[in-house]
């Protein structure tokens, strides 16, 4: 058996503790699979005294994770601190400079500095593993980088945030509103006290930017992601979606066309018959479309201590086995800066819900605005009658450019009989 692989773990929160627990529980299994032991040589966290699910008293302790990352007698540094800058970045940079491989679950950091870190790692001849950064335990990074390596991928999309999927699933099941379900999710620990990262789509955007680079061999471009969150999704829209045969899901979608890349994160309506429409609760799913393989769907738990630890240690086992691949499947120096296509140019179908005063001529005004923007209506429905009062009008359109829809919606919003800003949700046939 080869010499043990010596690792240092920076950050002992949920995922860090889960990783140590996994390494302890499966020490023999992992040694059998790698042909060598994995030895936790050092750990670092903010508070040494904190009560943890694993005993770290026998492991060399560092108050300073950056100093730990630079130690000579380490092979791999595992960064589980988090944050797109600051300490986490310093830890990784120091580790690479010291010639250590790095494993991280930090999507914010990779979405922001991924290409620079990949270049440093590859120049130093070390590995940068990040399976845990996207879709938790689901091995989507490996699947894209290796399993689908023979394909040109044209599109990749997925449910990448379990908190949002839990909220949307629960809203549908219970008929309750967003704020109410969010408050409950926070109590249950499914949502953070500050939920903005999740519910505003930022976390999904981070993960999508990483998948885009990997799938298309282009530079990570977080600024090129169009992001909308789920705060404005109402119980009424979810009910209408059901009636129309759709489910509302927060998707990250990246597609390649005309020499550019589209990256979009928004709640959208997907046909109820699609596999991804039936991924419920905290589960994640990623769908990749390759020119030879066709459509591949991968589904599993996207967060949590144990699934995320599974992904961290999978990267570790790869390194222990001697596998070393470019971070984004091609050398980071070869990643192309593919142009980012603006959302205004995206052609797609839309669902629009308006709250209008129920009086003659309203529908004609709305239809006129759509006609003038050359938008073709698929269906227009007004349910119930309440003369002089507010009623909902729902419109679904055929394919139209985003820009045309924007201009039509501006004009519709300015109509006297329209009482609230129109609510627009994209329809993704997938």
């Amino acid at each position: 058996m080869s010499a043990a692989l010596r690792i240092a773990v920076a950050g002992l929160g949920t995922v860090g503790s889960g990783t140590l627990q996994l390494l302890q529980e499966h020490a023999d299994l992992i040694a059998a699979r790698c042909g060598r032991m994995i030895q936790v040589a050092a750990v670092s966290a903010r508070d040494r005294q904190k009560k943890r699910s694993v005993d770290v008293s026998a492991i060399r302790w560092f108050d300073d994770p950056v100093a730990m990352a630079g130690e000579a007698d380490i092979d791999v540094v595992i960064e589980l601190i988090g944050g797109s800058d600051g300490i986490a970045k310093q830890v990784i940079e120091r580790a690479i400079a010291a010639g250590h491989s790095v494993i991280t679950a930090n999507k914010a950091l990779l979405a922001t500095h991924g290409v620079a870190l990949a270049r440093s790692a590859e120049a130093a001849g070390v590995t940068l593993g990040y399976e845990a950064a996207v879709a938790g335990g689901v091995p989507v990074i490996k699947s894209l980088r290796e399993g689908l390596a023979a394909n040109s991928v044209s599109r990749i999309y997925g449910i990448l945030n379990g908190t949002c999927n839990y909220i949307l699933s629960t809203m549908r099941d219970s008929g309750r509103e967003f704020a109410d379900v969010l408050a409950e999710a926070q109590e249950l620990g499914y949502a953070e006290a500050d939920p903005a990262f999740d519910v505003d789509g930022v976390d999904t955007a981070h993960k999508l930017a990483i998948l885009t680079a990997l799938a298309f061999g282009c530079e990570v471009n977080l600024a090129g992601v169009h992001v909308e969150g789920i705060r404005d999704v109402s119980a009424l829209d979810i009910a209408y979606a059901n009636e129309l045969g759709y489910r509302i899901k927060l998707l990250g979608i990246a597609s390649r066309s005309n020499g550019g890349v589209e990256q979009r994160v928004y709640p959208c309506m997907v046909p109820a018959s699609r596999p991804i429409a039936n991924v419920e609760g905290v589960f994640n799913a990623v769908v990749a479309e390759g020119d030879f393989v066709g459509t591949i769907v991968s589904e599993g738990q996207g967060a949590g201590a144990r699934p995320t630890a599974s992904a961290v240690v999978a990267d570790l086992i790869d390194i222990a086995r001697g596998t070393s691949l470019p971070t984004f499947a091609v050398p980071a120096t070869d990643l192309a800066p593919l142009p980012s296509l603006p959302i205004e140019d995206h052609v797609g179908c839309h669902y629009v819900r308006l709250m209008v005063v129920d009086r003659p001529g309203v529908i004609a005004d709305i239809a006129g605005a759509l006609r003038d923007a050359e938008i073709s209506v698929e269906a227009l429905l007004q349910r119930g009658r309440a003369p002089g009062e507010a009623v909902a009008v729902v419109i679904t359109t055929h394919e139209t450019r985003g820009l045309a829809m924007d201009s039509a919606l501006r004009r519709i919003e300015s109509l006297d009989s329209v009482l609230e800003p129109p609510r627009r949700i994209r329809i993704e046939p997938l």
Copy 2:
């Protein structure tokens, strides 16, 4: 860039031609991902003159694939001839003996001689890749061997044969009988002229035996697989399944318990709400349950020239990139001969359909036979009335040992009022 990887392809049928086409179409993409070119140095097939979708006239031709496999100036031999013995086996043995890595899509061969071949390959220090042997383009081998390497897997199951899944899906959609749908599938090219390998469950058993070895680190044990095919599934049973909230799927299921392994292939009823119940047509899906990662579902096209070529070339790219792992995740010399648990000891729920003469006392006789075997009935239903004529009686049971069910069914079959052999289908809650 490193020297080109020189490959030899034995067998130029659908998958062989698809592989050459992929290598041609994506030569640059693959070179970018591997850091080296892949060069098709030699090919062999039965008929040199046959018209093919790719031009092989400029490639060195061998009439004898075994001689080709032994050539010195080759790095990797790709075996796409098929068959559990004979030429395919000789090709692989010769290649390994000559120090070449091997890639194969041959599940029959691996299910029969997988451990011996893995030991030879590992002793020779070469790789034996077989991603294409299970679930076509879906990277399940990689996912289990690497993506889930940090887990102890307790169960793995899947829809592993697209022909059977197509037939069962079509029977359900159309209400037609097996023979009728099979004949149509043969006309459409979805089923072979001799369909036995597919519809009798043999192909699924081959794939399950391979997955079992990989997931549990045990020797491949094809003889330990209990196999039933789908010929006896009737339109009536499919209709009852729907009514009871199930779908009938041909599953391969391997689970570990009490120091042994259960491997079962049979058509079974799965709750309609499960992801695998909604995998339709020629698609395959594999579900793995790991102790840290939870449940991971992978779905995609399980056959066809292009998806299978995608898997073959994924293995090739791994080899070109320098990745080399034990065939079944641990060294083949360490694979344990885990005892195979007999189907008679399997505890599960059952659906039983009887055709009986509609007369007083029949139900009491049947219920008595079940009671005497200590089988607890969940539901018993007789639809319609036709005094003195044949009617269907459907029974679903709570969990019971296979042996008890066997004995109860023998007694029920011997009753005068029971007109046909009972039809038993297992219920898998999953």
